[in-house]
Symmetry: C2
Subunit: 415 residues, 2 copies
C-alpha cells in the first residue's frame, strides 16, 4: 500500500485562527485512491520546524504534501526552508511566473511584478509548479524515494493544483459506500448492524451529525455492496435514498421524483433551511422559494398569520408554525411547505419556553385542500447549535413528508 | 513560555471524512492565554500510533491534549492505548459514570447501561473526568512533568470539557486586536501598513476571506493598540467598526446605531445572506425578514417584479436586482434592503452571462421616496464558492449603504 504524509504550514492554523481543510480534503482523495495516510501534521511558519518535518518523513513515505507558506507576505517561509533543506540556492523561475502575471492586469499586475524577486523563486534542485488559480508557484522535488509537493495554502489554489499536478496519483482503487440514517442515534445505528461493524474485512466509520448518523463502509467491492444492503434493510424508514449524502439532497430527490414543488417559511433559522436546499445543484426544479419572517409583524403581513394566533399562543407555537407553513404554501403556490419558529437564544427564552424550544410544521396542498401538521423539539446547544439542529429537523420533516404520505401526520414521532 | 501539543485521534480525520476542529479551537484559546502550541497532529484510531505519540511528547511539553477515540463504538481505542502506555490496567469509574447515566432515561439510558463495562473504564494510574454534554468519560494523568488530558472528540463534548476541566489553564495573558478590511486585497493590505508588518515585537496574521481580509495583531498591549490605530487610519473607508469581526456584525452594528430596519431578497444565494445576518444574536432588532425567490414566477408574484423586466432583461440583470430590492423593501416596510440575483452554476450559464455573473442592488426608503442602485460582479469558484462570495458582496453593500449615505450610489466601485 502506498503511503502519504500531509502537513499544513501556518501559525494561523496552530493559533486556531484558521481551520485546516486542505490536508483533510486531500486525505479523503488519497484514501479513496488506495493510499494510506500515515499522519497529518500542522507546523508553524518556522523554517526550522519545516526542515524538521522533512527530515522526519523524507525516505519514510512515498508522498509528502505540504500546504501553505508560499504567499507574498512576511510569514510565508516555506520556500526558504526547502532551499535550506535541499542545500540548494533559490533561482527565479521567470517563464512560469510570466504565465501567471499575464493573467492579471492593472493594480494587481503591478503588485505581482513588485514581488517577482521573491515570488518567482524555486530551489535549483526543484521544479516550479504552475498555479492556475493564484500567483504563488508550487514546488516539487524527489529525494530518497519520497516525492515532495509544496503547494500554496489558499484553499481554492491548493484544490486546483491537487487536481492538476497530483491528479494522476488520485485514481480510485477501492470501493466505499455511505448510508445516512435520519433521526437514528449513533449507538442504535451500531447495535442494529453488528455483522457489518464486526466484519474484519471492512472499515466502518460512524459519523453522528445533528439529526442523522452516517455509516461509511470501505473495503472489497462485493463485501461493501452486501454491507450497504444489510444496513438499508435494517433501517427501511430512516435510510436516505442511495446517492443522497445529506437531508437536503434527499428532500430534492423525493420532490423531483414525485413532481412536488416546495417552499419554506423560517423564523429562528433565518434562511438557513433554504440555504441548505439551494446548495444542491438543480434545486430550482422543485424549490420555488420562501420567506424569512423574523418579526411578528412580518409573520402577519407577509404570511397572513392572524393576530389572534400571535396573541393567544405566541410566535413560538404549533398554531403559528402551521399558519406560517400554510401561508408560505399559498404565497408560492407549492405542493408542500415547511416552517420553523423557535427561540435560538441567547436572549428570548422564558421558563415556559426556554432557549431551544422550536416548533416545526409541514403543510401540503392536495386536490385544493390544505392540511398541516406541527411538532415540537427542545433542542440543545448555543445559538449556532440550536439553529443547526433546527435546520436538520426541518429538512428531515420535509423529506419524510415528501417521500411518504403515511409519515406526514406522525412527524412528532418520526423526525 | 508554557508549551502544549494537541492531537486529534480518528481514522475519519485522516481519511478526510471529517475535518478537525477541536484542536484548532483549543489552540486559539491556548495561544490567547500565552501558551505556545508546538504541534497539532492527527493520528489514526490505532493504539500503537497513540502510544507513539505519547512517547514522542510526554516529558517534552507541559500539556498534551488528546481529542477523540473514547466513544462506545469499535473504532474508539484511545482508552486501551492509554492503559498500555501507562502499564496500568483499566478499572471501572462507576461513581462518575452513574452521574452521567442519571441524566438520561428510556432507550438511551438502557443503551448506556449496556456499554457500562467498557464506557466506565479508566486506567488505574489515571483519573476520570466528568462529561457534562455526553456519555464518554475523559481521562487525565501526569507523567514526567506533562499533564495529559484525553477528551471525547464530539465537538460539543470536547468544548464543554475544555471550558470546565481545562478552564484554569486558559486565562488570557497577552493582548490581541483584529481589524477586518472589506473589499481590500491581501497584498494591498500588507503594503499599506509596513510599520506593523515589520515590527519584530508584533505577531501579525493576514487572513484573506471572500470579500475581506483580516489582520490579527498580537503582542504587548500598548504596541497592539498603536498598531490597530495605524491600520484603521490607513483604511478609513474599509475597516469594519471596532468589535465587529464579520460583515454581518458590521451591518447590524450600523443599522442599530442609526435605527434603520433591514430586509433582503435572494435568488442564487438562496437564504444564506439572511442566514448570515440572523447568526448574530439580537439581529431581530434591525433585520425584519426577507424572501427567497428562486423562480421567475415567485419574483413576480411575491416581490412584484414586472413581467417586462424579466422578458427584456432576464432575472439576472441590474433591473431585476433593483426591482427585487424595492419589492422586498415595500413588502417588509424597511428602511433599507439588499437583493442578489445571479448564476451560481453548475448549470444555467451562457456566453453572455456565464456562471458567476451576479447582480446586486440596494434600495432605501427616505421620506417616502424609494431609491435603488445596482452593481455587477463576475465571481469565481464553483457553486459553493460563487454563493459564498455573493453573500460577502451583498453584506458589504448593505454595510456601506447602512453606514454612509455617500457610498450608496457608488457601490460598483466600493464593494
Amino acid at each position: 500500500m502506498r503511503t502519504a504524509v500531509l502537513a499544513a504550514i501556518g501559525d494561523e492554523l496552530l493559533s486556531g485562527v484558521r481551520r485546516e481543510g486542505n490536508c483533510a480534503a486531500l486525505a479523503w482523495r488519497l484514501h479513496d485512491a488506495g493510499w494510506r495516510v500515515e499522519s497529518v501534521e500542522v507546523v508553524p511558519d518556522d523554517p526550522e520546524q519545516v526542515i524538521g518535518l522533512l527530515r522526519r518523513w523524507v525516505g519514510r513515505t512515498e508522498l509528502l504534501v505540504l500546504s501553505g507558506g508560499l504567499g507574498p507576505t512576511h510569514d510565508d517561509r516555506t520556500r526558504d526552508a526547502l532551499s535550506a533543506y535541499l542545500g540548494s540556492p533559490l533561482r527565479r523561475e521567470d517563464a512560469l511566473y510570466d504565465r501567471i502575471v499575464a493573467r492579471y492586469d492593472g493594480e494587481l499586475r503591478a503588485a505581482l511584478e513588485r514581488v517577482r524577486s521573491s515570488q518567482s523563486l524555486v530551489p535549483e534542485a526543484a521544479r516550479g509548479v504552475y498555479n492556475p488559480e493564484g500567483s504563488a508557484l508550487g514546488i516539487v522535488f524527489e529525494r530518497s524515494g519520497t516525492q515532495v509537493w509544496s503547494l500554496p495554502g489558499v484553499p481554492s489554489e491548493f484544490a486546483a493544483m491537487v487536481e492538476g499536478a497530483l491528479g494522476g496519483l488520485l485514481l480510485p482503487a477501492h470501493r466505499w459506500a455511505s448510508v445516512v440514517l435520519a433521526g437514528v442515534p449513533e449507538l442504535r445505528a451500531v447495535e442494529r448492524v453488528p455483522e457489518v461493524i464486526g466484519d474484519p474485512g471492512l472499515h466502518v466509520s460512524v459519523l453522528p451529525s445533528f439529526a442523522s448518523v452516517e455509516l461509511i463502509v470501505r473495503g472489497e467491492p462485493e463485501r461493501v455492496r452486501a454491507a450497504e444492503r444489510l444496513i438499508r434493510d435494517r433501517f427501511p424508514d430512516d435510510a436516505l435514498p442511495e446517492g443522497c449524502a445529506t437531508l437536503q439532497e434527499a428532500v430534492l430527490h423525493e420532490a423531483r421524483g414525485r413532481g412536488i414543488t416546495l417552499s419554506c417559511a423560517e423564523s429562528c433559522t433565518g434562511g438557513l433551511v433554504q440555504g441548505a436546499l439551494t446548495a444542491v445543484p438543480g434545486s430550482s426544479e422543485a424549490f420555488l422559494g420562501g420567506v424569512v419572517t423574523y418579526g411578528d409583524e412580518a409573520k402577519r403581513t407577509v404570511l397572513g398569520v392572524v393576530p389572534g394566533i400571535l396573541e393567544r399562543h405566541g410566535a413560538v407555537s404549533g398554531e403559528c408554525a402551521r399558519a406560517m407553513a400554510e401561508g408560505v404554501l399559498r404565497l408560492f403556490g407549492t405542493d408542500l411547505a415547511v416552517s420553523v419558529t423557535g427561540i435560538a437564544g441567547p436572549e428570548g427564552g422564558s421558563a415556559e419556553k426556554p432557549v431551544g424550544t422550536v416548533w416545526f410544521a409541514v403543510a401540503s396542498m392536495k386536490e385544493g385542500t390544505v392540511r398541516s401538521s406541527a411538532f415540537l423539539r427542545n433542542l440543545r446547544g448555543d445559538r449556532e447549535g440550536v439553529r443547526e439542529r433546527a435546520v436538520a429537523c426541518a429538512l428531515s420533516a420535509l423529506w419524510r413528508s415528501a417521500g411518504d404520505e403515511r409519515q406526514f401526520m406522525d412527524l412528532q414521532e418520526r423526525v
